[in-house]
C-alpha cells in the first residue's frame, strides 16, 4: 500500500496493451476522418464560441476574466459503467439527505457516536439557525447533489468530494454539450450519445413539484450572488434552462412571512428559491454578519413552509471531507445497505491512532476536516504542522493517481488526469442522475471540491447501448399557462440597469457625433473664419459632454488644441473610454435580459469600437474611423433593440433611457449652437442640423435655403423626426404612461408639458418679425428645458428604481456600546 503512488494511472482511451478501448473506437474513427490539424482547429473554434457567448467573460472594458475552456474531445462513459455510477450516486445522495435530516433534527447520530461532535459543532457549515430543537427539518434538504469522482489504477471510481451546498458545474456541462454540438457536429453522428435535455426538463419539473404544497402555480427563482460573482454566467444559463427568474438578494423581500420579488409592478410571490448563495449569507436576522447581504426573514419564511429553499441552507455540512470516514457505517445504520460508491480511503485524525498511522505510512494527503477544498501541494508542510497541533481539524486521504484522458494540446493529443463531476437532482420522490457531467482536467495532482474560476473541462458522453434508452422525458404535468402580455417580473434593479445602458449608449453616440463634427472643421489645421463660431459652439458641446479641457480651447487655437482634447478623451482613463467601460459593465449586468444574438451584437461591435479607439492615438483620421465604429455600435444596439426585444419592461426602460439622454442632449446642444449674435445664426443652424443628423431631411424639404423657423421645427417640434426633441418627448410620455399606475400620472404629464413647450418655442419663432433675433434668444429657454429633462430623469429613478434606505443591524454590533442590551 505504501507505494501506491508509483502505480501508473490507467488510460481512459487506451487499454494496458496499447489497444483502443471499444467504446472509444467510433469516436476516434470520426476524428481520424477529419484530417490533419482538424482537432486543433476545432479547439480554437470552441474557445471562440465560448468567448462570443460571453462565457469566457471577455467583455470589452472588463478585464479578461478567468475562464473555463472546453476540450473538443469528450470523455466517454459506456452505458453499463454509467448505470453503476448512477446507482452509487443515488444511494450516496439518499444517505447524505438522511445524515443532514438527522443532524438538523434529533441528532441521534451524535448520541450514538456514529458522527463525532467535532464534525458538527466545530463545523462552520453547521448553521444553528437552521435547526430548531425538538422539530424535524423541512425535507428534502438536498435537491441538487454533485460528486467529484476519480478512477484509480484498479479501474474503480471513488468519491473525492461531495458537493451539497450549491454545487456548480451543471450549467457548464450543459453549455459544453451545446457548443461542442455546434463546433463538432460530425462527432455526434453515429455515436449514441444520451441527451442531457431530458434531465433539465425533469429538473424544471422537480422545482415545481417541490413548491410548498398549497401553491397552485409555483413561481421559481434562481438566487445568484450577482453579476460580479464568479459563477454568474452559469447561474444565468441555468435560470434560462430551468425557465425561472434570476434574482439577487436585493431583489427579494419578506413581508408577512412570505417571500416576494420586488418588481416594477409591485411585489410578486416566490415559492421556490434555487439558491446559489452560501446559506450563512441568506438571512442577516438569523446569522450575524453584514446587514447588507441576505434577505431578513428568509429563514423564518422557509422554516414555516412559505418558501422552499433548495438546497436547504446548512446543507454544506455534508461536504465535510471527514464525513467520508464515517459513511460506510452511516449507510448501514441509516439505509441498511452497504455503501455502493465509496470515498477515497479517508482517516479522520481525531480518531485514536490515526495520526500515528499516517505518520508511519506514505501516500496520505492532508485536508481540512470540514472544508471541502483540496490543499495546494505547496502548503503541505504548513498543513502538516497544523494537523499535528489540532489533529481533529484534519483528515488524511489516500487519493489514487487519477486516470488519464487524451486532451488536445499544442503538440497534439496528450493524456491528462481527470476528475469527473456528476450531478443528481431530487424531484420529491426520486433522485435522477444527469447522463453526462463535467470532466475536469488537471495539470497534476488531485482536483476536487469547489470549482476554481478557471480550468480545462470536457463534455462527458454517456454512450447508450444499441437501441437503448434514448427516451424522452416523462411529460411534466403542468397546468396550461394563462396567456400573459405583461412585462412579467422585471426586477427594479434590472430596469435601473437597462435605463442607464440606454442613457450611456446614447451618450456615447452623441460623443462620436460631436467628435466627427469637430474633426471635419479642424482637419485642415486651420479653422475657416466662417466656421469659427461653429467650432466654438462645438467646444462648448464637447466640454458639456465631459471632454476635459475643451472649454479652454478658443478661437484660432482650436485647430491645434482640440485634437489633443479629443485624443485625451479616447485614452484609457478618458471620458469616452470610460463610457464604453460603463456600457460593457451594464451589458454584463443585463445579460440575462438579452438573447445570445443580441448579446453578441452588443459586445462584438463595442469590442471593435474600443479596439479602434485604443489604436487611434492622436491621429485625427484614425479617431474618425474609431467614431464610425462607435456609431456602428450605437446603431447595432438600436437595431437589435427595435427588432428583437419584446415591447415590454426591458425594452421600455432601455428605450426610455435612450430617449431621455437624447432629449437632454438636443436641448443642450441646440442651445450652444444658437448662442451667438443673430447675424451668425446660419452657422449655428447648420451645426444644429448636423448634430441632429437632420441635414438630408432639411435639404429634401427646403433645398439650400437655411432659415431659423423651418430648421428649428425639424429638430425641436417635428414628431416624425426620430432625431427631434418632440419625438423623444412623445416616446418618453408614452413609455411613462405605460408603466405608470393610477397614482403617478405626474411623470407622463411632465413629459407632455415639455413637449408643449418645445412646440410653443417653434410656434413663437414662426410668428416673430425677425426669426434670427428670436432664435438667438432661445438658448436660456433651451437650457431650462435641459434641466427639466434631467429632473424628470431623476424622478423616474426615484419612482421606479426605489433607492432603499440602508439596512443596519441592531443588538449585536460591537462598535456602538450605546446599543448594548446586556451588562
Amino acid at each position: 500500500m505504501a507505494d501506491l503512488g508509483v502505480v501508473p494511472p490507467i488510460d481512459e482511451m487506451v487499454d494496458g496493451r496499447g489497444g483502443v478501448r471499444a467504446h472509444w473506437r467510433q469516436l476516434l474513427g470520426i476524428m481520424g476522418g477529419m484530417g490533419e490539424g482538424a482537432l486543433a482547429n476545432r479547439a480554437k473554434r470552441l474557445d471562440r464560441a465560448f468567448e462570443d457567448e460571453g462565457i469566457a467573460g471577455v467583455l470589452p472594458g472588463a478585464k479578461r476574466d478567468a475562464a473555463w475552456r472546453c476540450d473538443p474531445l469528450p470523455m466517454l462513459l459506456p452505458a453499463a459503467e454509467f448505470a453503476a455510477l448512477e446507482a452509487g450516486i443515488v444511494q450516496r445522495a439518499r444517505l447524505l439527505e438522511a445524515v443532514l435530516a438527522d443532524l438538523y433534527g434529533p441528532q441521534d447520530l451524535l448520541s450514538e457516536g456514529l458522527v463525532p461532535p467535532e464534525l458538527v459543532f466545530a463545523n462552520p457549515g453547521f448553521l444553528r439557525a437552521c435547526r430548531s430543537k425538538g422539530a424535524a427539518p423541512v425535507q428534502p434538504l438536498l435537491h441538487l447533489y454533485a460528486v467529484d469522482l476519480v478512477r484509480g489504477p484498479d479501474g474503480y471510481w471513488r468519491v473525492l468530494a461531495d458537493r451539497t451546498s450549491a454545487p456548480a458545474g451543471a450549467g457548464m456541462a450543459r453549455e459544453n454539450r451545446r457548443l461542442l454540438g455546434r463546433v463538432m457536429p460530425e462527432a455526434f453522428r453515429g455515436a449514441q450519445v444520451r441527451s442531457m435535455r431530458p434531465f433539465f426538463d425533469l429538473w424544471q419539473d422537480a422545482l415545481q413539484r417541490l413548491a410548498p404544497p398549497e401553491v397552485g402555480d409555483p413561481a421559481v427563482a434562481l438566487l445568484t450572488r450577482g453579476t460580479q460573482a464568479p459563477r454568474w454566467f452559469e447561474d444565468m444559463m441555468l435560470s434560462r434552462e430551468l425557465s425561472c427568474a434570476l434574482v439577487e438578494c436585493g431583489d427579494l423581500t419578506v413581508r408577512g412571512g412570505v417571500l416576494y420579488l420586488k418588481t416594477l409592478q409591485g411585489l410578486q410571490r416566490v415559492d421556490v428559491l434555487l439558491s446559489r448563495v452560501d446559506g450563512a449569507r441568506l438571512d442577516p436576522l438569523e446569522m450575524s454578519g453584514s446587514a447588507t447581504s441576505g434577505v431578513p426573514g428568509l429563514l423564518d419564511a422557509a422554516r414555516n413552509g412559505a418558501v422552499r429553499i433548495l438546497n436547504a441552507p446548512g446543507a454544506a455540512l455534508a461536504e465535510a471531507p471527514a464525513l467520508a470516514a464515517f459513511l460506510p457505517a452511516l449507510a448501514r445504520r441509516l439505509l441498511g445497505e452497504p455503501l455502493a460508491l465509496p470515498s477515497v480511503e479517508t482517516l479522520w485524525l481525531g480518531t485514536e491512532g490515526a495520526a500515528a498511522r499516517i505518520a508511519r505510512e506514505d501516500g496520505w494527503l492532508l485536508r481540512r476536516a470540514t472544508d471541502g477544498s483540496m490543499p495546494a501541494a505547496a502548503h503541505a508542510d504548513a498543513t502538516a504542522r497544523d494537523a499535528a497541533a489540532t489533529p481533529a481539524a484534519f483528515v488524511a486521504a489516500r487519493v489514487p493517481p487519477a486516470s488519464l484522458v487524451p486532451c488536445v494540446m499544442e503538440g497534439g493529443l496528450e493524456p491528462r488526469p481527470l476528475v469527473l463531476r456528476m450531478f443528481a437532482i431530487f424531484d420529491g420522490s426520486d433522485w435522477r442522475v444527469m447522463p453526462g457531467g463535467l470532466a475536469r482536467i488537471g495539470e497534476s495532482g488531485p482536483l476536487g471540491g469547489a470549482l476554481p474560476p478557471q480550468g480545462l473541462s470536457k463534455d462527458v458522453w454517456v454512450i447508450a447501448d444499441e437501441g437503448g434508452d434514448i427516451i424522452g422525458p416523462a411529460p411534466a404535468h403542468l397546468p396550461p399557462l394563462p396567456i400573459r402580455r405583461m412585462h412579467g417580473a422585471l426586477p427594479s434593479r434590472v430596469a435601473d440597469n437597462l435605463f442607464w445602458l440606454g442613457r450611456y449608449t446614447e451618450r456615447l453616440e452623441r460623443a462620436a457625433r460631436l467628435v466627427r463634427a469637430t474633426q471635419t472643421r479642424i482637419s485642415r489645421g486651420v479653422v475657416l473664419p466662417r466656421e469659427a463660431a461653429e467650432v466654438a459652439a462645438l467646444a462648448r458641446c464637447l466640454a458639456h459632454a465631459g471632454f476635459t479641457g475643451a472649454d479652454e480651447v478658443a478661437g484660432s487655437a482650436a485647430a491645434q488644441g482640440l485634437p489633443s482634447v479629443i485624443a485625451l478623451a479616447l485614452r484609457e482613463d478618458g471620458a469616452v473610454m470610460h463610457l464604453a467601460d460603463r456600457i460593457a459593465a451594464l451589458t454584463a449586468m443585463v445579460r440575462d435580459r438579452l438573447t445570445a444574438d443580441m448579446y453578441a451584437t452588443f459586445t462584438l461591435t463595442l469590442r471593435a469600437a474600443r479596439a479602434e479607439m485604443q489604436a487611434a492615438g492622436d491621429n485625427l483620421e484614425a479617431i474618425s474611423r474609431a467614431m464610425i465604429a462607435v456609431l456602428r455600435f450605437a446603431t447595432a444596439v438600436a437595431g437589435v433593440a427595435a427588432e428583437s426585444m419584446v415591447r415590454g419592461g426591458a425594452w421600455l426602460f432601455l428605450d426610455l433611457g435612450r430617449r431621455v439622454e437624447r432629449a437632454q442632449a438636443i436641448a443642450s446642444e441646440v442651445g450652444f449652437a444658437l448662442d451667438g449674435p443673430p447675424s451668425r445664426i446660419e452657422g449655428g443652424l447648420r451645426l444644429m442640423l448636423e448634430l441632429c443628423d437632420s441635414v438630408i431631411t432639411y435639404r429634401s424639404r427646403y433645398l439650400t435655403v437655411l432659415q431659423p423657423a423651418p430648421a428649428l421645427d425639424l429638430v425641436l417640434a417635428d414628431g416624425s423626426n426620430p432625431r427631434a426633441l418632440a419625438f423623444q418627448l412623445e416616446a418618453i410620455s408614452r413609455s411613462l404612461s405605460e408603466v405608470a399606475t393610477a397614482e403617478d400620472g405626474a411623470l407622463p404629464d411632465e413629459a407632455a408639458s415639455l413637449l408643449a413647450d418645445a412646440e410653443a418655442m417653434v410656434a413663437e419663432l414662426v410668428e416673430a418679425s425677425d426669426q434670427a433675433i428670436a432664435a438667438a434668444g432661445l438658448p436660456p429657454r433651451l437650457e431650462a428645458m435641459a434641466n427639466r429633462i434631467a429632473a424628470l430623469s431623476d424622478a423616474v429613478t426615484r419612482r421606479y428604481f426605489a433607492l432603499l434606505p440602508a439596512a443596519q443591524t441592531l443588538g449585536l454590533e460591537g462598535a456602538q456600546p450605546a446599543l448594548r442590551g446586556a451588562a
Binding site: L110, S111, G113, P116, P117, E118, F121, A122, R128, A129, R131, S132, K133, G134, A135, T253, V254, R255, G256, G257, P284, L285, E286, S288, A291, P296, G297, D300, R303, N304, L804, P805, A806, A807, Q808, T809, L810, G811, L812, E813, G814, A815, Q816, P817, A818, L819, R820, G821, A822, A823
Partner: protein, 291 residues
C-alpha cells in the same frame, strides 16, 4: 422564590424605519427548576407577523416583523417565574476534572467544549483557568475557585467594553462587566476541555435582607453553566457576583456565547442614528401573585 419580571427595551430612531425584523430571546426558559407561570411580550408598533420557534439550543425564540414606518420601537417583556435551583453537590464528591473532560465528547454537553467567536480557546484564558485545576482536583472545587478568582482579579466597570470585546482584551485590562467575565470563564474552561455554556438572564434587583446588592441587577445579566459529568449535570456559576445560582437568578436562554443569546437583535431599513434604553426589574412577587 417567585419573581415578577419586567424588561423594557426602547429604541428611538432619528429617522423613520420602513421595515424591521427582530429576533427576541426574551421569554424565560421553562426548566425543571424554573417554572414560568406566565410570560408575555408586548411590542410597539404592532408587528405584521410574529413567529415562535425553539432555537437550536431549545431557547424560546420569537421573531417579529414590522411593516409600518416607525420612529420608536419598544418591547415590554413581562413574566412571573418561580425558581429554586437545587443546591450543588458537595464539591469534593464531584468527579475529577480530567474525568469530566474524558467523558464530555460523548455527552449532551459536547457542543460546549468547542470554541466560539466570543469564547475562543486562547492560551491566555486557558492558562488563567488552569491554575484552578491541578491534577486530580474534583471539578466543582476547581470551578468554585475559578469563579472566586475572576470576582477578585477583575474590576466591574460598565462602559469600557462592548458587545464584541474579546476575552484577550478583558484578560489584559482586567475589567469589564458580567458578559466579559462570563466569556473569560467560558474560554478558560473550554481551553481545558471542560464543557461550559453562556447563560443570559437576570439577577434580583433588590438584595434579600442582610445581603449585599448584586452587580448586574437593573439590566440583562449573564453567567456561566458548567458541566460536572454524567449524573452531576450542570451548575450555574455567576463570576460577577461569585455565587452559585440558586434562587436569585432567572434564566432566559443559553448558548455558546453572547451572540447566540442576545436578547434582542434585528435588521432595520432606514432609521439613521438611534438611542437605546433598557430597564429591568426583577422583584419578589407578592404572596398573592403566586396563588
Amino acid at each position: 422564590m417567585i419573581y415578577r419580571l419586567r424588561h423594557v427595551t426602547t429604541y428611538a430612531y432619528a429617522h423613520s424605519v420602513d421595515l424591521a425584523a427582530h429576533l427576541l430571546l426574551l421569554t424565560p426558559r421553562a426548566l425543571p427548576y424554573q417554572n414560568v407561570v406566565r410570560s408575555t411580550l408586548a411590542v410597539t408598533p404592532t408587528p405584521s407577523h410574529v413567529t415562535e420557534a425553539a432555537d437550536h439550543f431549545g431557547n424560546a425564540a420569537t421573531r417579529i416583523f414590522i411593516d409600518v414606518p416607525h420612529e420608536r420601537f419598544e418591547v415590554i417583556a413581562e413574566a412571573l417565574v418561580e425558581v429554586r435551583f437545587p443546591d450543588p453537590p458537595s464539591a469534593a464528591l464531584t468527579p475529577t476534572w480530567e474525568d469530566v473532560v474524558a467523558t464530555a465528547q460523548r455527552s449532551e454537553a459536547a457542543e460546549f467544549t468547542f470554541p466560539s467567536h466570543l469564547a475562543p480557546i486562547v492560551p491566555a484564558a486557558t492558562g488563567y483557568a488552569a491554575a484552578s485545576f491541578p491534577a486530580g482536583r474534583p471539578v466543582l472545587v476547581g470551578l468554585l475557585e475559578l469563579m472566586g478568582r475572576i470576582r477578585r482579579d477583575f474590576t466591574y466597570k460598565p462602559g469600557v467594553t462592548g458587545n464584541h470585546t474579546q476575552v484577550v482584551e478583558v484578560l489584559r485590562d482586567r475589567r469589564g462587566v458580567c458578559q466579559d467575565f462570563a466569556h473569560v470563564m467560558l474560554a478558560g474552561l473550554r481551553g481545558l476541555g471542560l464543557p461550559a455554556r453562556y447563560v443570559s438572564g437576570y439577577v434580583r434587583t433588590r438584595p434579600q435582607p442582610g445581603q449585599v446588592a448584586r452587580r448586574g441587577a437593573d439590566q440583562s445579566h449573564a453567567w456561566v453553566e458548567a458541566w460536572m459529568g454524567e449524573g452531576f449535570g450542570w451548575v450555574g456559576l455567576d463570576p460577577t457576583n461569585d455565587i452559585v445560582t440558586r434562587d436569585e437568578h432567572v434564566v432566559l436562554a443559553w448558548g455558546r456565547d453572547f451572540i447566540d443569546v442576545s436578547p434582542l437583535s434585528g435588521v432595520i431599513l432606514g432609521g439613521g442614528d438611534h438611542r437605546l434604553r433598557v430597564g429591568v426589574d426583577l422583584e419578589e412577587a407578592e404572596a398573592s401573585a403566586s396563588a
